[in-house]
Symmetry: C2
Subunit: 547 residues, 2 copies
């Protein structure tokens, strides 16, 4: 059997090596239009600052190594220019000369390509780069040798934010320009606010709700007509499946050109399979076909398609998508659906925010960990989670990713037996704690109101009580229109609180205000807890805090 694989990075190379482990006598050919296969896609931004200092580290395996160990015929700089499913043949172009290759099975793993936005002057600019592969990085590094003082990154997705961090760490004054209202679109608005604060503290100029209209040498004209100077510009507005040829030859594609495959990775054409960034997969929560262009699923899919081809019973079970990005000292991560995505499904869901120490409060080194979890208002099924903080963000989001993918409920989280010793966690781990908080909502012991609803509620007559201490208020700032009654004197002030109004309670993180909510509820008041309290509200609206 002869298997031809198009694309030699995550999905393609995982398929190739698994095929060889399953069979010594299969002929395996890997074609890649680029000069490098099996390179560390996700490491590229870190080479810009020198955090990854050796360019060789970006190349995981060479064609020679792959041939020696796996007898894989790896052909870089070889672009597939035509596919003939009827003849089981592909046409390739290598150094300008055409050739045809027969295949018994064809695996397409073309990946995705950078989206190029419409900006006047872009095609003439010589200081604008994408950041998708090693030739891109080589060009950027070449430009960086002339020691640019300023940079602009267009697009605040993962690659954009990583580029910003690494350019800044190189000492370059960087502007981040994002068309949406927050950075890192996998996060929701208020969680992204924590990241935006971190960017600002590192002197990054973040321009939200802003587009670039024109590029003229080192001058960028923005949608608000301000001009930003940037000696180097990184374009990172997103990616889309690199499937123009695949579409041209009639292989069925869907949303934004993503290849449609069945559970066994077979495309609309027999003996042609596809994996990786370029395919659509079933979202396990919505059951819709979506694009999840991440390295981990690509690797899994590559391995699985090899199994399928060799007759092992394996199928693509769909995905939830888990993303994480480091931004200076912060980690920011999400899994499952975010609020925006959930709202578009029409599902009735509850939301809970907590902020706890990353490990036991009495042990040095703990840092605030902000968590958000969303779950079904009736069944408690978990739909999405987000985490932002300096430590252990990856740990908590991984635990929640397992829970979400396994269709667990908010009521499962308190039962998790997570590791605890003071340097690592808490007797009540933050994941247990958010489970308790969510369970209280689901069971009706607590009700909450979100950061983006409280101002309107207060305008409409609700009575907002902040139960922090006066010292905290003067140190951290006040919520607009809140009455201050510290928690420990709340029971002595019950007669000052209007019985006929909807009460909203807030504190710093939402934990003390939950105690206040219970005291007041047990006394007959109608009470809601401001979810996430001051920390979440002030992350979303730092400008509304009264100092």
């Amino acid at each position: 059997m002869k298997v031809v694989i198009v694309g030699g990075v995550a999905g393609g190379m995982s398929a190739a090596t698994r095929l060889r482990r399953l069979s010594e006598d299969t002929e395996i050919v890997v074609l890649d239009k680029g000069p490098y296969v099996s390179f560390a896609n996700c490491g590229l931004p870190y080479y810009l600052s020198g955090e990854i200092s050796d360019r060789n580290d970006l190349i995981v395996e060479s064609p020679e190594q792959l041939n020696q160990r796996f007898r894989i015929d790896v052909r870089p700089n070889t672009e597939v220019t035509d596919i003939n499913p009827a003849k089981h043949q592909v046409t390739v172009n290598h150094d300008g000369s055409q050739d045809t290759l027969d295949y018994d099975k064809l695996i397409l793993s073309p990946g995705s390509k950078a989206v190029i936005p419409e900006i006047t002057g872009l095609s003439k600019a010589n200081n604008v780069f994408t950041l998708r592969n090693i030739p891109d990085v080589d060009k950027i590094m070449n430009r960086l040798e002339s020691h640019p003082a300023t940079a602009a990154v267009i697009g605040a997705g993962s690659i954009g934010v990583e580029a910003v961090e690494n350019l800044t760490n190189r000492g370059i004054k960087t502007t981040l320009i994002e068309a949406g209202d927050h950075v890192l679109p996998f996060l929701d608005f208020e969680m992204a606010g924590i990241v935006e604060k971190e960017l600002a503290e590192h002197k990054v100029d973040v321009k939200l709700n802003t587009r670039v209209k024109q590029i003229n040498n080192d001058q960028l004209t923005l949608s608000d007509d301000t001009v930003v100077s940037a000696d180097i510009v990184i374009l990172a507005v997103g990616v889309r499946p690199d499937t123009s040829l695949i579409q041209k030859v009639g292989i069925k594609t869907g949303d934004r050109g993503g290849i449609i495959v069945d559970d066994h990775y077979q495309t609309s054409e027999q003996d042609i399979y596809a994996v990786g960034d370029a395919i659509l997969v079933k979202d396990l929560i919505t059951n819709q076909l979506v694009s999840i262009p991440l390295a981990s699923p690509a690797n899994r899919q590559g391995r699985q398609v090899a199994d399928v081809i060799m007759g092992i019973n394996r199928r693509n079970k769909g995905g939830i998508g888990t993303a994480i990005v480091r931004t200076f000292d912060l980690g920011a991560a999400a899994t499952g659906l975010n609020a925006k995505q959930l709202q578009s499904t029409g599902i009735d869901f509850m939301t809970v925010h907590t902020t706890n120490s990353s490990h036991a409060g009495y042990f040095p080194g703990g840092t605030p960990l902000s968590l958000k979890v969303m779950f079904d208002s009736k069944t408690g099924q978990l739909y999405g989670a987000q985490a932002v903080g300096k430590n252990s963000v990856d740990k908590r989001i991984d635990v929640l990713a397992v829970a979400i993918k396994s269709k667990m409920k908010i009521t499962n989280l308190p039962e998790f037996e997570l590791s605890y010793a003071p340097p690592f966690g808490s007797a009540k781990d933050p994941v247990n704690m958010i489970g308790y908080a969510g369970e209280n909502l689901l069971e009706g012991l607590s009700e909450n109101i979100q950061f983006d609803q409280v101002d309107e509620a207060v305008r409409n007559g609700d009575y907002l009580i902040d139960v922090r201490t006066p010292e905290e208020l003067s140190r951290d700032g006040r919520l607009p229109n809140a009455v201050n009654i510290p928690l420990d004197s709340l029971r002595d002030h019950l007669n000052t609180i209007p019985k006929d109004k909807q009460i909203i309670v807030s504190c710093r993180s939402g934990q003390r205000s939950y105690i206040a909510e219970r005291i007041l509820k047990n006394d007959g008041f109608n009470v809601k807890n401001l979810d996430g309290a001051f920390l979440t509200y002030s992350a979303a609206y730092p400008e509304r805090i009264i100092h």
Copy 2:
């Protein structure tokens, strides 16, 4: 309603505060025989070195704070001397005066106490301490002020190892004496070997298979008649439920005095409940009643018993037990059953060891992470996992703890969508990787042999091939009786390998030898992979490696 709670630390205080949040009008009395409630039990060892530098940090909440915020009547230094279930009454002793208290509901959360081994001279020694509470720590700190040069810790469980670390960090030359054949009994022998190496590298003298026969001032005579000098001795040979009174009044107990409770934490006596270290809980894998004396379950149980008493439908779902300990730069953790426990159940299980980098190999700062997973040979159900390494041990064990508690299978692990960016993980996370390795075993693509079986197998005629490079062999050492054929030249040496023998392949971590296994199997050889390869074997038997 009046609820009396005996024991004011994890379980008892969680019950008390949850009760108050559920009800403003319940009278809540917490009795504790010690001078402090709500103290940071698990933080105590870290105060010895000054890593926790402020003694106040060990006391999470004072009786005054608890009264102010939760209206809980906290009574320290108050020992319960009798319980009368028929009268719903307890007798207490406070400062020498007796008193009786009525209760509607009684919650017992007495915790566990240190086991005191039989050692000649122990009762007369004035330099021997346990490490269970704040008075213990005060006594130890008092002794440390005289700047002892040497210390001995008896017992290499979690508290013993933490005591060793903190005494060593204080500059005291410490001997660790353990009756068993390895440190940290929650780990298996070969995983503990990695911790023992770390202890040795920090100049701790670890004496395994050794007991203390006699203590004579600062001289300890050991079971092998050697004498160790120790200016201070910490006794940490284990704990048992502190239930002598409870047994005396006829409340039903089981193994080692653990209180027997139903799913709703009710003891054999009506209106008497029990939680925490002192109760027996159902092991979710074996369905047997076991003791899991850890802070996390105690906190959960305390909260749940409050729910039960207030009429909320809540039940104890049993546990798997998850433990973690820091030892200098290493974390060591386990969840579910270990090999010894599994062997005693008679369950037929498979074992897989891996060592991968804690995050992407091409990104700086990754460290080796050793994982072990055990699962059912037929169904693949996960039974236990262990992790040892410098980074992210807690993350991986938490993910595995969720999987085990949720009765998942080894084949679920590859499907986990774990967060990946270079600073945090790998496109194929170590948990995915060990899942793939285990799946290969379950599906028969790979067979393995354990570190403790290979020597005998080779003695009986099996043919052991080490596929590392000659450079690795001379740098790291050789396995006894192994033939060296580097992986990348294996296909050229097939004719030198005996067709009629059982072949065993090994490398450094087991990954290359798995490739070798597949090459040889596909060529008709009868092959097993040495599970965990050189790294696991040499962690278990460093003395057998040939340099």
